[in-house]
Symmetry: C2
């Protein structure tokens, strides 16, 4: 095990190493999101999970670090952040690296290895800013040689957060962006949407808010019907004229900033505004169509369309918990076509989903080992 620099990050291990002789093996799950990096530490408790009533193993510790894209903070600082957040989670668990059995990182934009070009294209969107191969080599430098590593797309970790780590079913994410991602038990996968705002992710928070802003401009131009959105959005942004929205959108191209207007759109729809209502209905149809496309392509619904499969629902747009409930509408729209769909709203965060991926893999592996042993 090479400790190539900043060895002091791991100094705590000298104090706890005595306690961890016989012990509990652990999994580290990391979620490298766009704003911060979460690391959780979970024990490997071997039990048969019920995928549809997810009560995951307990989380021993949780650590959070800022986002550390090496394109912005430099490679050394990015590696340090990654190392520190893992060290903190282990330290809080009263454990050391020798207890680690597996590490799973969920990073935005990392896709299936067959899609190398896409991985390269998306790299700047990874929180760590490292390509997956580089990430793996960093992890191998930090941990003992018997530790297993997984680097996964954050959509996969989101699916796992609802299915106890089992890669089967579909996940629909709608926050600032949106993506539908599906996995079959025999390892096939498919994606719909998730192509970004230019390429029509209209079910995303950004998409909903951009349509609302457009409706305000159209009403002001005389190209569209008057809408309550004008007054409420201008009030929200403390502007007095729709023309000022032009400057607002140009001033900062951040999609997340635009997506913060979603609650205003929901409020207007709840208050009976037809334009806002139409925007939400359109978003529901878009979100449902992404899921349907994935389910069809993977045949998750079976030949007769009635097979059972989990649909994990993640993200601010789907969790809004408002009277106008986008997530609920999406579910009822999908259920018409696929009565076997089991909607799941995960009880755990994506970092736990990442750990559950590794956990499920290890449990399955040991189960297979036992079966083979029984058979022999």
């Amino acid at each position: 095990m090479k400790r190539y620099r900043n060895g002091e990050i791991w100094d705590f291990e000298q104090e706890v190493s005595g306690e961890m002789g016989g012990g509990q093996k652990l999994i580290l799950g990391l979620d490298g999101g766009t704003t911060n990096t979460v690391c959780i530490c979970m024990p490997i408790i071997p039990f048969t999970p019920n995928h549809h009533s997810p009560d995951p193993p307990p989380v021993y510790a949780r650590a959070v670090a800022g986002c550390s894209n090496h394109n912005s903070v430099g490679e050394i600082a990015a590696r340090e952040t990654l190392e520190q957040v893992m060290a903190e989670a282990l330290s809080k668990s009263g454990s050391t690296r020798t207890a680690v059995r597996a590490v799973c990182l969920a990073v935005s934009g990392v896709n299936h290895p067959t899609d190398q070009q896409r991985i390269l294209d998306w790299l700047s969107f990874c929180c760590f800013g490292f390509d997956p191969v580089h990430l793996l080599s960093i992890l191998r430098d930090i941990f003992p040689s018997d530790v297993e590593f997984f680097v996964e797309n954050d959509s996969v970790a989101a699916l796992a957060s609802g299915t106890m780590g089992k890669l089967h079913g579909c996940v629909l994410i709608s926050g600032t962006g949106t993506i539908a991602y599906g996995y079959t038990e025999d390892g096939r996968e498919a994606r719909a949407s998730g192509a970004g705002p230019i390429l029509g992710d209209w079910g995303s928070g950004y998409g909903i808010a951009a349509k609302a802003l457009t409706a305000v401009i159209r009403a002001s131009d005389g190209r569209g019907p008057q809408t309550m959105l004008t007054r409420t959005i201008l009030h929200e942004l403390q502007y007095s004229s729709p023309d000022e929205l032009i400057g607002w959108t140009y001033a900062d191209p951040s999609w997340a900033r635009i997506a913060t207007l979603v609650p205003v759109v929901i409020s207007c729809a709840e208050a009976g505004d037809q334009v806002a209502n139409d925007i939400l209905i359109h978003a529901v149809k878009e979100l449902a169509s992404s899921v349907k496309a994935v389910v069809h392509r993977l045949g998750l619904c079976g030949k007769d369309g009635n097979d059972t499969f989990p649909l994990v629902m993640v993200g601010g747009v789907l969790e809004a918990n408002r009277r106008w409930d986008i997530g609920k509408e999406v579910i009822s729209c999908i259920a018409k076509d696929f009565p076997g769909m089991l909607p799941i709203r995960p009880k755990v965060e994506p970092a736990v989903g990442a750990a559950l991926l590794a956990w499920n893999y290890i449990i399955e592996q040991s189960r297979q080992d036992h079966s083979e042993a029984d058979y022999n």
Copy 2:
């Protein structure tokens, strides 16, 4: 006249000043576009223009400089570029600053003075990067005190390029972006669209291309019908998979780059592709609705809707001159509502439009002076 720096830009005047004693008064028209700055030099020939059969005064000289946004090149370099392009146009005309009667600059994003906030918001989009007041003070430093200055929105210059400088009627621009801009003879004005890609300028080159790219993604996801756009766009960009388009759009957010795909969309529509055809029909409706909104708000069509008014059509999307002719379709769509609309495709560039604005103003002024003299 203050020559505050770089006096050598104007050294040529010492050689030509002898010839210009009795002479021809001139107008400088400048177009500060996003990629370069054009300056033309035009004589003030007093004749009664026919606004609907535009044969403008001759252009004595034309000079081109690179785009010089002072935010990117620095203020001194930006002022120098501005000064040099005017000096070159005058030098080529064999004339000097003492012959200049007026200077008119058309700059993107400069709007009506009542809309100060918007002017400030848009500033970074002006080619020169100066605010209009600053631009005027720079010009006053360069020219004799009796020269008149105009700083106008590039949409106004585009209108003037089709109406011989008269501010009456509507201009529809669709290139990378789109805007409809109208002016009445009593000085009222209105705009529709021109709010940028986030705010729904779907009739723009960017909007058409973004919809085409979205259609390719939807077809690939299984969310939309198959389309010829997939093969042709992938071929155009030398990609093999629709997923690669995601990286392409993220790699460079330039709207102009995306808008270059418009000819491919037109080709597919001409070849009978329904998806491409629908995208163009949608763009036509959007463009026509922008014009109709402006015409309605200004009452350009008169109370019975039959009044005559010019509609100046400008920009790559409207001038494509293809079998599937977007400009022609827009005109026929508008003509149904406003039979008095007179479509005009300008024969001159926006810099000439800028000069014509000043020229028309001066001619009108001198006509009024003569009428008053006659009356007295």
